[in-house]
Symmetry: C2
Subunit: 339 residues, 2 copies
Amino acid sequence: MQASPVTQHLGIDVHTHFVPENFPACPHAGAAAVWPSMAPAQQCCHRHVMISGKVYRTVTDQCWSAPRRIEDMAAMRIGRQVLSPMPELLSYWLDAADARVLLRDLNEQLAAVVASAPERFSGLGAVPLQDVDMAVEELHRFAGLGLAGVEIGSNVNGEPIGAPKFDPFFQAAAKLGLAVFVHAVRPSGMERLVGPASLEQALGFPGEVGLAAASVITGNLMARYPALKLAFSHGGGSLALLLPRLEHAWHAFPALHGAVHESPTAQARRLFYDTLVYDAPTLRHLAQVFGTGQLMLGTDYPFAIQENDPIGRLDQAGFDADAARAMLHETAARFIGLA
Amino acid sequence: MQASPVTQHLGIDVHTHFVPENFPACPHAGAAAVWPSMAPAQQCCHRHVMISGKVYRTVTDQCWSAPRRIEDMAAMRIGRQVLSPMPELLSYWLDAADARVLLRDLNEQLAAVVASAPERFSGLGAVPLQDVDMAVEELHRFAGLGLAGVEIGSNVNGEPIGAPKFDPFFQAAAKLGLAVFVHAVRPSGMERLVGPASLEQALGFPGEVGLAAASVITGNLMARYPALKLAFSHGGGSLALLLPRLEHAWHAFPALHGAVHESPTAQARRLFYDTLVYDAPTLRHLAQVFGTGQLMLGTDYPFAIQENDPIGRLDQAGFDADAARAMLHETAARFIGLA
């Protein structure tokens, strides 16, 4: 497929994933058990991401190949992809110094793909947030790499991102003008699922993202760092349904009203969300709850669960031209700091 | 307040709670640590529910007094309340035989309130679902007590209600024509909350109920017991936002498609939900997702988080007359088996 029509494609997809073609060597024997590696797969252009001696996921060269991605973008009518690491690579469960080795390499490979076509790609790196001071240090390398921001997990080894201990990280991201994209990882509620492993993604992720966003709200994070650009994947997960109840409880329970300094709904309308909800009525509902100016296209490209026609979904939802333009690219451009 | 206008008030509130005026004596010393008891409170008409030596909740005589409830119903324009136990009394964490002692007493006191004004109250009892066979036995006592159905928790000591082990319970409920009302209890995700204890109710409950409903769907429960009348509290919690993603994943992942025998959305539209979402746009969205014929008024009366004006909320949502009538009383009448 030729790239000729792509200049008409203004869509910015803020939720696409990157896996490096190769992982660096394991730095020492102690980390070997959980260090990721690549193994060849039988199918052409596929590789197995191996973690803990097992195939974690079989991925295609779409994960690391700029030309393959650009070809797919034309078919999806996407002008620009924002690349972020496959969340399992965030490596919060490694020793922080080991994770730094892995993530620096990852960030460099991700940045190289972006640099190969800067008019088509933006990048979000990763930092070892299990050590907040080290994570802040690493953020200072991002400008040099040409990264627009950072992807973080919804929790860090079980601690929700709204916990006060992560303040220095968010303070630094705000100060550096780096976008922060929150992705579900190792979700809570796994013990409540009945069915195959893919339910982790299907059912675990939305609740996990919803609680992460709620933790930011009940933790008053945006009041402390009003300049912070903070986005939540999967349409904010369950947040849109949590919010009216949280708002009601905020009025009903004095202790909650005392702890949360501003209306949860008002706070939620200052956060960003992707449109990855697979359903036009749900998208319309999110636009009503969060505001049309806070939503940005997202697809989960190139994984099995991806939304194949994000712009078709927007069309289906029937937004007016201003709202559609905001979701298509304007809000994303603001989020990632495009001129 | 006189009851004169109440015959015009057709609203059926399916989500109201009951606490007995007194608990039975602890059956043996071994159960004493977690056996609930009542302690006097300073305020008139209040009592402390004591569990594990602490005040679990301070409650008013609205919890057990029929005249007090009828007075409040007039103000809320509710013609009939469906009473179910305060969920912490479900007692899944007690030895089953001990729980049976507590729950039989509770069911009898609840049934007595219903019997005192059967034109104004219906009742949902409780059973020791930590022992499925015993729970089935107990269900057979419900007709004699005049109970319309049973309240169950969203999980039983961590196991989601969609797990196959609960099949004999649902089979019996379906066969006996008993309504089953699923309420959040001891929610997952507690470790993700940042803020005061009331966040358990505000944020923990919706995700918990959503996963419980999803477990019923991915477990194919309704395919096995199509006659079952199964309702979820809090508008189904997060389910309406989980559903489009689950539906998409069901098409995207062969293992999930193989495990779940019918479209998750189609399954969800055979379940019942209360309207307890505190927000007219959310209510409209639920009606679109689940169908207007599956929603029933619910308020959480008489607890602090209650919806004070459920019928006003319906009016605000602007449903047509047929849909409003269904939500106001018709669907609830079908659920609890009123003629």
